[in-house]
Structures are given as structure tokens and as C-alpha cells.
Symmetry: C2
Subunit: 185 residues, 2 copies
């Protein structure tokens, strides 16, 4: 039995990430789930930022941001960075996180994240509540321990997802893209 529901942001599971922005002097962390990959070559991500957020003018001014992936171990810090404002507190300090000096961008990355996607804004779209920034990934800063053959190779289940107000662990591998075609052969 199907029923109609009032439209809402039900797409799930989406990533839970910490986005860093600003420069060496003034910077901030913003926890976001309204993010996604939008293009493969070049690799481009989109991040959506509420107009009221302290991070918005930092991203506007520099045209740069970094998407830091979130592991289970980083969940507490991620929630802290999602519930306090950079106007009131230094979020790196409040959440116990370490600044790494940006490599291809001016904003710091989060040293505790296994992989940080350094991005330059190539387009902005304005919608009702959020500014959407498309950022081309220009460099990836990764822990040597999670790199294999020059590519990011995180174990399944390390990252955290977000679904309608809840953080969810990701679990075991359910399959590999294209597995049904291989089964047929």
C-alpha cells in the first residue's frame, strides 16, 4: 500500500563530512550532509551551505574549501562541529582536531581525517535556503596507511553516513559495481 508524503529531504544515505574553509589566518569547520559528487572528469563535488552560516563568507572570499571524510572515530568531533558556531568558538579546539596546512588550497585540512579533498569553487547556484558550491577537486591529502597503488583504499565500514537526522555506521561490503554482469558470465 503506497501513500503520498509531504516532500522533504529524504534522500539517503548521504555522506556526513566536515568541510574546512578560510585561510591560514581565519578558518572554520562546518559539518555537512548536503554534499555529493556531481562530475567524474574532472572530479567535482557539490556542497550546500545555509545562508546564515559563518562559513559562507569564508568560502565566498577564498573560492576554496576542503571536504574531510569522517570515520567512526571522528563522529563525536563531527557532531560538535555541526552544533556549535565558528562565530563563538574555534571549532578545531572545541572538537579536539588538528589543522594541517593546505597544500593546493589556502584553507587547512583536518589532520585526523583519513582523506581530505581540496577543492576550488568553479560554480555557485543559489536556491531557497542554501548556496550550492561546485568545487573541483584539485588535490587529495591522504593518510599513507589508506593508500594502495596510488589510490584511496579505505576498508569497508570505516566511514559514517547520515540518514534523516541519524548518523549510521557503514558496514560490510554488499557487492562490487557490476557484480551481476560477472555472475552471468
Amino acid at each position: 500500500m503506497k501513500i503520498d508524503l509531504k516532500p522533504s529531504t529524504y534522500l539517503a544515505p548521504v555522506p556526513a563530512v566536515m568541510v574546512t574553509c578560510g585561510d591560514a589566518r581565519e578558518n572554520n569547520i562546518i559539518t555537512l550532509a548536503w554534499v555529493g559528487t556531481v562530475n567524474s572528469e574532472p572530479p567535482v563535488v557539490s556542497i550546500s551551505v545555509r545562508y546564515s552560516r559563518h562559513s559562507l563568507p569564508l568560502i565566498e572570499r577564498t573560492g576554496e574549501f576542503t571536504v574531510n571524510l569522517v570515520t567512526k572515530e571522528l563522529l563525536h568531533a563531527t557532531d560538535v562541529c555541526g552544533t556549535i558556531s565558528g562565530r563563538d568558538r574555534d571549532k578545531f579546539e572545541a572538537a579536539g582536531l588538528t589543522r594541517g596546512a593546505g597544500r593546493a588550497v589556502g584553507c587547512p585540512y583536518i589532520a585526523e581525517s583519513p582523506a581530505s579533498l581540496e577543492c576550488k569553487v568553479i560554480k555557485r547556484v543559489d536556491l531557497g535556503t542554501h548556496a550550492v558550491f561546485f568545487g573541483e577537486i584539485v588535490n587529495v591529502v591522504a593518510d599513507e596507511a589508506v593508500v594502495k597503488n596510488g589510490r584511496l583504499a579505505l576498508e569497508a565500514g570505516r566511514l559514517v553516513a547520515y540518514e534523516n537526522g541519524k548518523y549510521l555506521y557503514t558496514g560490510e561490503q554488499a557487492g562490487t559495481y557490476g557484480y551481476t554482469a560477472k555472475e552471468k558470465k
Copy 2:
């Protein structure tokens, strides 16, 4: 020890969804992971479609699409729809899926999905390999069994995520948004 990697589409975990498009006469299913929420009010999602895809002209012609959420039980069908082309086969038939007649849009939804987000295109952005469509969610068709107080309330762990070529199960709830602020009080 941090190293720099060649930029790639490393954002994860992202949703694995089946998008339906077209109209009652000609329609298709496309499996996508380059999707995301981009605005809260009104609720807007983005979907990125490779230029070569059979679904692209269908979305262009109708200005509509439906995002069908993917449970574990739908993973096999999702992979099938991601590896064959609607040019060659009827994907509903090939994947064993049932068409539901669209309610607020002309394209069918997938009856086996617990929730289908019916969308109207409000903007298109063209990038290197993908056309990005922003779709306002105009109606949500949901299984009565997963609705509570008029809202979608899926159990944690029912949906599937995608991470760098792998499908991942989502697992237990790791926390609720804002849990660290509540702990402090």
C-alpha cells in the same frame, strides 16, 4: 604521514539509487550514485547523468525524474540497472521490477522501493562528463509500512551506500544529529 593523491571522485559514502524517467509510454531506470540533497526548503536533489546515457534525452524531454531509494533487497536489481542499457532491454523486465504510475510526475516509480521521490527539474548545469539536474521534490510515494506520523521512518540499516566501486550495507545507528550538545547538558 600524509601524501598527495591524484584528484578523483573519492567522496563517500554516497547513496546508491535507481532513478526512473520518461513517461507512461517510454521510460527507463538508471542507477546513480552521483546524487545528493542540495536544498532543504524547498527540498531539492541533484542527479548527475553521463552524456552518453539513454536516460538523458528522456529527462530533457519531460523535465521530470523520480529517485527510488535502494534497500538491501533491491541491490541485485540496482546493479543490473547499472550495467545494462535501456537501449537494449526493458530494465523493469530485466531486473524484475514493477512500474507504479507516477502521481505528481509522468514517469513511473519502482513499486518495490520503499520510497520514491518525484521530482521536477528546476535547473541544469553542464560539466565535463555529466549533466547535473536539480530536481525539486514535489511528492513522495512511500510504503505505508515505513511511514510514522506522516514522515518517512525507515529502520536504520535498510539502505545501501556506494563507496569507490563497492556497495556497502548501512548498519546500526551511530548517534543522532546534535547528540554531543545533549550530552553536555
